[in-house]
């Protein structure tokens, strides 16, 4: 283990995975580490300052420390590495003499000595870490108010929305240049779907009239009811009508009418009525048909008498039969 070929270090890692803290206090972890290392480095340098240390020394190395650049005290340095959420702080020395003080050695007097100076200094400074970290994070978070975070988030969202809006506008402009303007929906509604359909003869185009009549009837019905209510109100004001009693009467009569209806009796009555009406229609049809037949027969008879004279036709003379003649057959060649 030669001098200047190794580095003796003590390392502290702070793992800050809380995104909220990192965002609100971006440099707090590094600052906390720096303050802890400051304490540790000062303590370590105090422990190996000139005039301090163990009585025996590892005599293979010059151990006279005058506080200059070759001494152990000045060789103690610190460093910080930022690796995302991981912050690593180190106190180190390149002096082998400092290393053997820390680790221990066997002296020429056959005693084993060691003089820990870096690890106790580091452990001593670590107890300040919670306090220093709390102070640092608190101060940075107070200087970084909540409104600014919200503002940043809002600005980001606004920027995204503006970007999307600009994109949509470009697409619309390109569409307006290439495509013909479409007919607005308001004009489309005037074109009836019935007009486009091939129709049979006799079926009028356009909407069915029943719908129009139904709407008109409903309108008239509403007007009629309004008029009746208006008259009833005028009669009530004049003292001629008790409208509450009238409504009670209407409700009670309707209820009585509904309660008196027997479905079986009503069905039987309907059947009887239907048969009666059917028989009447049959009698009428029969009578009509018989009268029509008699009239037709009378007319035919009258016409026959008028168009056919009572004259006998003369008999045709007898024609003698002609005898049949057979054709001769052709001989086969």
């Amino acid at each position: 283990m030669a001098d200047k070929l190794f580095r003796f270090s003590a390392t502290l890692q702070i793992n800050s995975r809380a995104k909220g803290f990192v965002k609100k206090a971006p440099g707090a972890t590094e600052e906390s580490m720096r303050r802890v290392l400051k304490y540790a480095k000062k303590d370590a340098q105090d422990r190996v300052a000139p005039g301090k240390g163990p009585g025996p020394h590892p005599h293979n190395w010059p151990h006279v420390d005058k506080g200059d650049k070759d001494g152990l005290m000045t060789s103690v340095k610190d460093a910080i590495w930022l690796q995302g959420f991981l912050t690593e702080g180190t106190i180190y020395t390149d002096s082998a003499y400092g290393t053997y003080l820390e680790v221990g050695w066997r002296t020429k007097a056959k005693n084993f000595y060691r003089y820990p100076w870096l690890k106790p200094a580091f452990l001593g400074a670590l107890k300040y870490l919670p306090k220093l970290a709390a102070e640092t994070f608190r101060s940075q978070m107070q200087n970084f108010p909540e409104d600014e975070i919200v503002k940043d988030a809002q600005l980001e969202s606004w920027a995204g929305a503006a970007e999307r809006w600009a994109k949509d506008m470009k697409a619309l402009e390109a569409q307006a240049k290439t495509k013909q303007p479409e007919i607005p929906p308001a004009y489309k509604s005037h074109i009836s779907p019935h007009a486009r359909r091939p129709l049979a003869k006799g079926i009028p185009r356009g909407r069915p009239k029943e719908n129009i009549d139904l709407g008109l009837e409903m309108k008239l019905d509403r007007e009629r009811v309004g008029r009746e209510r208006k008259h009833e109100a005028e009669a009530e004001r004049a003292g001629k009508l008790d409208i509450k009693a009238l409504r009670r009467t209407r409700r009670s009569s309707e209820a009585e009418r509904r309660s008196e209806i027997d479905p079986i009796k009503a069905t039987q009555q309907y059947e009887r009525e239907r048969e009666r009406m059917q028989s009447i229609r049959d009698k009428r049809r029969k009578a009509t048909h018989e009268a029509q037949d008699q009239a037709i027969q009378a007319a035919n008879a009258k016409l026959k008498k008028a168009t056919q004279p009572n004259i006998k036709a003369p008999k045709a003379p007898k024609v003698p039969k002609v005898p049949s003649v057979k054709r001769p057959r052709k001989k086969k060649s």
């Binding site: 283990m1 190395w61 680790v103 221990g104 050695w105 066997r106 056959k110 005693n111 084993f112």
Partner: protein, 147 residues
């Protein structure tokens, strides 16, 4: 019940490991010597052979439970680097991830909870004598009072 001496407990734990004891038991002047030492470390009349000793580095206890967690530095020596490494391997086998061992020392029951390797192994040479050694440290936790 009394407070546990961590070095005493650790020495007892290591001295009960037969493989480790066999590794560091040497014959000196016709008699076998167990070269396993605790604080203050290496004896004055020691000459290089398979040996290891440990020194306490301290450590925090638990805030709520009566459990102490201390770290110890171990110095494994040998006639050469390979022997020092051999001692380290036996030590590591005996102590790394050792858990829940109850041991009686002077009539008092001690509860050993857990131990694990903290740093090392690091090959080194004693700066004065030039002896080969392997440095390592272990974290040891135990019930801080006797049962």
């Amino acid at each position: 019940m009394s407070q546990v001496d961590s070095a005493k407990l650790l020495y007892a734990i290591l001295a009960t490991d037969a493989s480790l004891v066999a590794e560091v038991t040497n014959v000196v002047d016709g008699s076998s010597v167990l070269d396993l030492y605790g604080p203050p470390g290496m004896p004055i009349d020691f000459h290089i052979r398979k040996m290891f000793f440990f020194l306490g580095d301290g450590g925090p206890g638990d805030e709520e439970l009566p459990i102490a967690r201390e770290s110890f530095s171990f110095f494994c020596y040998g006639d050469n680097s390979a022997e020092a490494r051999s001692v380290y391997r036996k030590l590591r086998t005996a102590l790394h991830r050792k858990a829940h061992t109850r041991i009686t020392i002077d009539g008092e029951v001690h509860q050993f909870q857990w131990s694990q390797l903290l740093s090392g192994p690091q090959d080194d040479t004693d700066p004065v004598e030039g002896w080969n050694r392997v440095l390592c440290s272990f974290l040891v936790s135990f019930i801080e009072i006797t049962l």
